[in-house]
């Protein structure tokens, strides 16, 4: 029994993690022969989407309700990872991977680092006043309702037939060096500035 209880999480996490591998055909051996990649719009994709959405929203809710900052960071990891899965489902492999590297590999570590450097006691909790919670809840609920109303009722101009032959990496490369050259360079300058600024602000007097 104990072995099963211990091993079960692996199975579950693994199945969730490799979900897109089932749902989306990212296999290039076909697409190089001109067969279009596509989410095959079947049962499995729906299943995977619902699983991802459940993880995203569940962990988001957990972040809202949790009081412990480190746990919030872990839930955030759940959110980020499953958002990356959603990118895979949306055929945006590159963005998904970048999400994993930058957010899960970099930003999250940074957050936890900040927590470790700035928390006095292991479980530091700041609790907020109840009326604040209520107000926030009401406002956000209203906001959510309005946005959902818009999202559901709006008429989006769609061309649902996704035609992607081969990889979109070349598109990325060309795009970043032609149409998006200026934002790209600006981004690099910004990163430099941020690096200097962060080092300056976090320095020891």
């Amino acid at each position: 029994m104990k072995l099963l209880t211990l091993a079960a999480p692996i199975i579950v996490v693994m199945l969730v993690a490799i979900a897109p591998a089932f749902a989306v055909d990212t296999d290039l051996t076909l697409s190089e022969q001109g067969i279009q990649r596509s989410a095959d719009g079947g049962l499995l994709e729906a299943l995977m989407f619902y699983v991802c959405a459940a993880v995203v929203l569940g962990s988001g809710l957990a972040i809202c309700l949790s009081k412990n900052i480190v746990r919030m960071a872990v839930y955030l990891f759940g959110t980020l990872a499953s958002v990356a899965l959603m990118y895979f489902l949306l055929l945006a492999n590159f963005i998904g991977v970048i999400q994993l590297i930058v957010y899960a590999g970099g930003t999250l570590i940074l957050l936890i680092f900040g927590v470790m450097l700035t928390s006095k006691s292991p479980w530091a909790k700041f609790d907020v006043k109840r009326n604040e919670l209520i107000a926030a809840g009401v406002v956000c609920a209203l906001f959510a309702c309005l946005l959902l109303f818009v999202v559901v009722n709006a008429e989006w101009p769609l061309e649902t037939d996704a035609v992607v032959v081969g990889s979109s990496m070349t598109q990325f490369g060309v795009g970043l060096l032609t149409n998006y050259l200026v934002p790209f360079e600006a981004m690099s300058v910004l990163l430099l500035v941020v690096m200097i600024g962060a080092a300056y602000m976090a320095r020891q007097e």
Binding site: A46, F49, V56, L57, G60, I63, C64, I69, M72, A73, T79, L80, V83, M86, L90, A92, F94, I95, Q99, V102, Y103, G106, T107, L111, G114, V115, L117, T118, K120, F126, V128, E132, L133, A136, C140, F143, A144, L147, V151, V152, W156, L158, E159, T160, A162, V163, V164, S168, Q171, F172, G175, Y180, P183, M187, L190, L191, V194, G197, A198, A202
Partner: protein, 104 residues
């Protein structure tokens, strides 16, 4: 129900976005607010990529924009953590409610 379309993703994105705002409002820990910001950015990103995919994927403008958003988010996180540490250095806490010395 089993035919996943644009709206499904938009709904998820919206909820994530609003949750992010809720986190920003209700967390008193500076890092917590940062986490809220990241959630908001992710919600926006899902929108970008979803629109890009459901408009035929003839180009990848949405994806590139979301790429820039991600990079900006990383930069912003680095800076924000530095600010938090400075905050902690000055006020000896990360409770943002103590940062109200300019309040009238």
């Amino acid at each position: 129900m089993f035919e996943i379309g644009l709206t499904h993703y938009l709904v998820v994105a919206t909820l994530l976005f609003v949750m992010g705002i809720f986190v920003m409002i209700t967390k008193r820990n500076a890092i917590g607010i940062l986490i809220g910001v990241e959630m908001v950015l992710n919600g926006a990103n899902i929108n970008l990529v979803a629109f890009n995919r459901y408009n035929g994927m003839s180009n990848i403008d949405g994806q590139i924009t979301s790429l820039f958003v991600i990079v900006l988010a990383a930069a912003e996180a680095a800076l924000a953590v530095a600010i938090c540490m400075n905050f902690y250095k000055n006020l000896n806490t990360v409770d943002v409610d103590h940062g109200d010395t300019l309040a009238g």
